[in-house]
Each structure stands twice: as C-alpha cells, then as structure tokens.
C-alpha cells in the first residue's frame, strides 16, 4: 500500500499506547481487591473488559478517521477511544470514577462518551450498532463527508440489532462501516457454537453490503480494508462490513477463569501479537530500531503513568451530584 513512515509509526505508537494503558489498568484493577477478590473494592471497582491483543483493529480502522467521525463501541471500548485520540487522563479518571473523568464519574469503564470525538459506547451487546446508523443518517442528511463506524464483537453479530442496522444502512445507503471484531469468543461461547456461518463477511450479501474478512492481528491489513470501506462511505457509496479475526490476550473480563480455552490456545495466538507483527515489519524495513521501540514504549509508559497520577489525585464527585444530569 506504500504507507508513509509517519503513518506506520503512528500505527505502532497507537498500538503500544493501547497495550500500555490496558495492561496498567489490568494491574491497578486488582489493587485493594485481593486476597479474597472483592469486585466492589479498590480504586477501579466493577467489571473490567480489556482490549489487549486486539489493538490492530481499533488502530487500523481509526487511523482512517477524523475526530468528527462518529464511532460507537462496546463494553470493550478503551482501545477504540484511545485510537480515536482521547486524552488518557480524562479516560483514566473516568475509569477511577473521578470528578475529572469524561463523564464526571457517572459513566465508568463501560460508558465512555466524548462529544468532541463523537464517541460513545455501552455495556449492552449490539447497543451501539443502530446508533452508528443514526449518526450516519445525520451525516447524510447534512450532506457531509463524515463517516460513522460501529465496532462490535462476533457475539454481537447474532443479535437482532445487527440485522436491523445493516438492512437500514443499506436501504438508506448510509456512510457507515460495521467492524466485527471476531475474537473467537463471546465470553465463554466460541463463535462456532453461536454463529451459523464461518465468517460474518458472508452475511454482507444478506444486506447487499460489501463485506470482507481480514487478519485482525495485522494492522496493515486492517488499515487497508478500513481505508477502502471508509473511502467508499465518504464517497457516498454506502455501508460496508469488515470482519477482523483477532484474539483477546486477557480474559473476557478481569477475573475470568478462562476454563473454556483449549490448552495452549492463547500462547499460540500470543505468537501473533499485533504489536510484534508490525514491529518486526518496521524493523525489517529499517523504519524502527530496537532503541526507538524502547523509546516509544517508555513514552507510552510515561503517558499512562501521568494519566494514572491524574486519576488518583483527582477528587471523587460529591455524592449529591448523583442527582444531576438526568435531563438536559
């Protein structure tokens, strides 16, 4: 495809940023919860779904987006929001439930919103898909060349909202790209037990929507497929579907015993770490040295540490604020 060095290094940066954020959140999550795990305790209470392993998908797609392109995401949203360009401090503060967070602590890890980045997500599987269609409808009505993207999982492709949304997007020829992140599981249920076709790309035809399956560990493959789909949408040629086959390196959520995995399965996938794949390519092409890679990692570690410090030092919202923001 001949991407510029800058673009390639940006992709690498973003993936490292996401991974670093997620792994640090994953560590902090257990603070205060052990030895007898108490989900309500510690600086980060509640459920926690991390994105480690899937970085190539968010990164490859969002590299083609502008800040004002609407994105809807899922319960596993950190990676998408970081790739969209969010300030880590506000994100982390929200995950800590602090006043300085994106939603002043009301949303939390599963409900990250930023109107400046036109980003929303939520904890209901399939919930974001119709909303991306609606965002695309708004774009089309205004005659803009923005494009909406909806990220969701292989599991979500079996819920009714998927069907209705793809059909609507097609009949109205909307500028929206549906990105199925096929990480092989919906919690413990493997795709083979939940999905009547091998690839959701086969479902595009049921809506007259161009659809492809790509290697979701290969950020360049994702980038290319996304570019094609997003450009098509910007040109007013309607929706597309991309299924990116990927893998999550942590449990469905933190604390997942992962008893449903085959022995050695995860290790095998870790050999296809998206960061290493791009890193090796860049190094082979002389675009990245080991020292540079270390510097990138160090930079991201610092950024995440700053975000952490910000979140820790920020105050909690006053309890009575619970009653605010019900109505606009």
């Amino acid at each position: 495809m001949g991407l510029s060095k800058e673009t390639l290094l940006n992709l690498y940066d973003t993936m490292v940023k996401i991974r670093t954020f997620e792994e640090r959140v994953g560590e902090m999550y257990y603070e205060g919860k052990l030895p007898a795990f108490d989900i309500a305790a510690g600086p980060i209470p509640g459920e926690m779904h991390l994105y480690s392993g899937q970085e190539a998908v968010a990164t490859g797609v969002c590299a083609n987006l502008q800040p004002d392109d609407p994105v809807t995401s899922t319960h596993r949203a950190h990676g998408h929001l970081i790739a969209k360009g969010e300030d880590l401090k506000k994100m982390m503060a929200e995950i800590f439930g602090k006043e300085t967070g994106l939603s002043h602590g009301k949303g939390g890890h599963m409900h990250l919103f930023d109107p400046n980045l036109h980003f929303g997500c939520g904890g209901i599987v399939g919930g974001g898909i119709p909303q991306a269609v609606g965002a695309a409808l708004a774009i089309k009505k205004r005659g803009e060349d923005r494009v909406a993207v909806s990220f969701f999982g292989d599991g979500a492709a079996n819920i009714g909202a998927f069907h209705e949304s793809l059909n609507l997007a097609s009949i109205w020829r909307l500028p929206v790209v549906f990105v199925v992140e096929d990480n092989l599981y919906a919690i413990s249920v493997p795709k083979s037990a939940s999905t009547a076709v091998r690839s959701n790309a086969e479902r595009g035809a049921a809506y007259g929507i161009p659809a492809v399956q790509v290697d979701g560990q290969d950020v360049l493959a994702v980038y290319e497929a996304a570019k094609e789909a997003i450009d098509r949408a910007r040109r007013g040629e309607g929706p597309s579907l991309i299924e990116a086959v990927c893998y999550r390196f942590r449990g469905h959520f933190e604390g997942d015993p992962e008893l449903y995995l085959a022995k050695g399965e995860k290790d095998k996938w870790k050999e296809r770490d998206p960061i290493n794949i791009l890193g090796s390519q860049l190094k082979a092409q002389g675009l990245l040295t080991d020292a540079e890679a270390e510097a990138i990692q160090a930079k991201m570690t610092d950024l995440v540490a700053e975000a952490e410090a910000f979140a820790r030092e920020s105050p909690y919202p006053a309890p009575e604020e619970a009653l605010e923001h019900l109505f606009a």
Partner: protein
C-alpha cells in the same frame, strides 16, 4: 370568532410537527407507514407531501434499528421524532429506549444530549385485544431519563408536542387513539377543540385542572380524562362535585397541584387505563399518602385495569377498562362511604 379554529387532536399533533419542521430543519420523522399512509393514527398526515421522503421517512419493521438510529441521529445534533406505531410494540425496541435513549445524557455526565421525541399510540376500548390496547405509560415513567407526556385535548396536544420537540431531553409522547378524533374511531366530541394556528408551547410538569370541584379529586390522563369529565357531569346531577385533574405529564409530575387538590377535597380516586399494580395509580396514591395523609377522609381509591391483559371480547374489555359508570360508582362510594 377570531382564533376559534377547531381541530381534532390528531390534526393538532400533525400541525405541531409541521410547524416545528418548518422552523428547524434538524427535525425529521421516522416510523412505519408515516409517509404515504400518514401514520396509522394520522400523526404525520399530510407531512410527506410537504416535506418529502428525506424528512418523513418510512422505515422497515425494525423498531430496535430505527429507534436506535433516532438516538444516534440525536446525539449527532439532529432532532428526530420516531413513531412507535403502538406502544404495545415497545418490546421490540426497549433496549434502545431504556438503556440508551434514557441514559446516555446521564451516563455521559451531561455532555451528550439526546433531543428526540418518541411518539406512540396507546389505549383500548375498541376490541384490539391484548397486544394493541395497552397504555403502559407507567412502565416508562418508572424509567429515569425520559419525560412522559400524555395529552388529552387538541389544545394540549399541540402545545405539548411543540414543547417536546424543543426539549433537549428525550420525550415520550403518548397519544391515546380515543382522543384523536379519528374518523374511524368511536366518535368523541371532546377530541375536537379550539387550537390556535400559531405555534405555542405548554410547559411540562403542569397538571391541568380540567374541572374544579370540592368533594373529591379525580387524578387521570388521556381518554380517562374524558370519561372522568363525563362522570363528573353525572355526579354533579347527584350533587357531588368532582375536581378532574389531567396530569398531562407524568415526568415531570406536578405533585403540588395533586396534593393541593386533595387537601381541598379530602378524597381522591385515580382513574387509570394502565394496569393497576406497580404503576401510576399506586404512585399517585402513595404521593397523596405521603403529603396529605392527615387531610384524607377516606382511603385513596384506584380504578385501573385489574392486572389482566386486555381481553378481546367487548363485554370482557368493558369490564377491565374503566367506564364512565364505574368512575361514577367509585366516586359515589368514596364520597358516601
């Protein structure tokens, strides 16, 4: 007389939408059969011809999809009106209504707005049976984050619709089929009334005392306002003076008007076309008990659908949906008993 133009409630709603669409090009309508058909209950009658298919959009039967799309369009700055043809179909879309439309503003800490109207038809009494006759407003009033509007007159319908469209929060607007003045429904003289031509708004949270009285308070909405007014006329002949309060919006609720009326009359009956238990009638009785306990001369009474689905057969349906006769009887009992 000037300004004394008469309209049906249905035409008042369609006019409100048309005027707001002219004023604000972010407003558009989505729903099933709202275009060429004009809406099964006429809420968008004539609008396709005026505004074209880009702004009056017929949808497939995909309630989750198009109501969710309305949410997404609203968060992107449009002001959609979505029609759920009958409230009974809410189950096909409830996730978007409940977990998204109602909650996004709050979950975003007030940063994202969802300015949309979800309008829907309610009510029975014409043998449309268990899946097309429900009222259900209490179910949505129980949901934090949705304003609940239920007009009973042409005048209120127009003013409340314009208010709803201009509101920056999600509003559910329930129109009762029996108050619309449709040519194919049981004729209802109260469904036609004076409606000013110019746009106007009616603030939410202001109940309307549709009839003043001193002997008891009737709290109600929608078609039951009409039946309560009819009942009040009969009661007046017996010397019983009923005050009939049309709540108009359940969220926000005009607690003050309710409580003051009961403090004045010392007796209250809630007349409700929704199911009885865990709904509007309980909430209103509870409010009265909380705020006017010492003023009550009798326990609050509740007349509502007695916790069964709406049956088809006419005598069965008439047995469960409050009728003028049963309102009269309940009021009489309350005052005398």
């Amino acid at each position: 007389m000037a300004g004394e133009r008469l309209l049906t409630t249905q035409k008042a709603i369609a006019e409100a939408i048309a005027q707001e669409m002219e004023r604000d090009d972010r407003v558009f309508v989505m729903g099933e059969d709202i275009g060429a058909y004009g809406g099964i209950f006429g809420a968008t009658d004539g609008l396709l011809a005026k505004f074209g298919p880009e702004r009056i959009m017929d949808t497939p039967i995909s309630e989750m999809g198009f109501i969710g799309a309305a949410v997404g369009a609203a968060t992107e700055g449009m002001r959609p009106i979505a029609e759920l043809m009958f409230v009974d179909f809410f189950g096909a879309a409830m996730d978007q209504i409940y977990n998204h439309m109602a909650k996004i503003h709050y979950m975003s800490g007030g940063r994202v707005k969802v300015p949309m109207v979800l309008m829907t038809a309610i009510g029975g009494s014409y043998s449309d049976a268990a899946q097309h006759s429900q009222s259900l407003y209490a179910l949505f009033a129980h949901t934090p984050g949705i304003k609940i509007v239920i007009p009973s007159s042409p005048y209120d319908a127009k003013g409340l619709m314009i208010q709803a469209i201009r509101d920056d929060s999600p509003v559910m607007y329930f129109f009762h089929k029996g108050v619309l003045g449709l040519g194919w429904m049981t004729p209802n003289p109260r469904a036609t009334g004076v409606v000013p031509e110019e746009p106007y708004t009616i603030p939410f949270g202001q109940a309307d005392v549709k009839r003043e009285g001193s002997d008891l308070t009737i709290l109600t909405v929608a078609l039951m306002v009409h039946r309560s007014l009819d009942a009040a006329e009969q009661l007046a002949e017996e010397g019983i003076n009923a005050e009939v309060i049309d709540l108009r919006t359940l969220v926000p609720l005009d607690r003050e008007t309710i409580v003051n009326s009961v403090k004045k009359t010392h007796r209250v009956v809630v007349v409700d076309e929704d199911y009885k238990s865990f709904g509007m009638s309980g909430e209103l009785a509870a409010i009265v008990a909380e705020d006017a306990l010492d003023y009550l001369d009798a326990p609050p009474k509740r007349l509502a659908v007695p916790d069964v689905p709406i049956p088809y057969s006419r005598p069965l349906e008439q047995y469960v949906i409050p009728t003028v006769d049963r309102i009269v009887a309940a009021a009489r009992e309350l005052v005398s008993g």
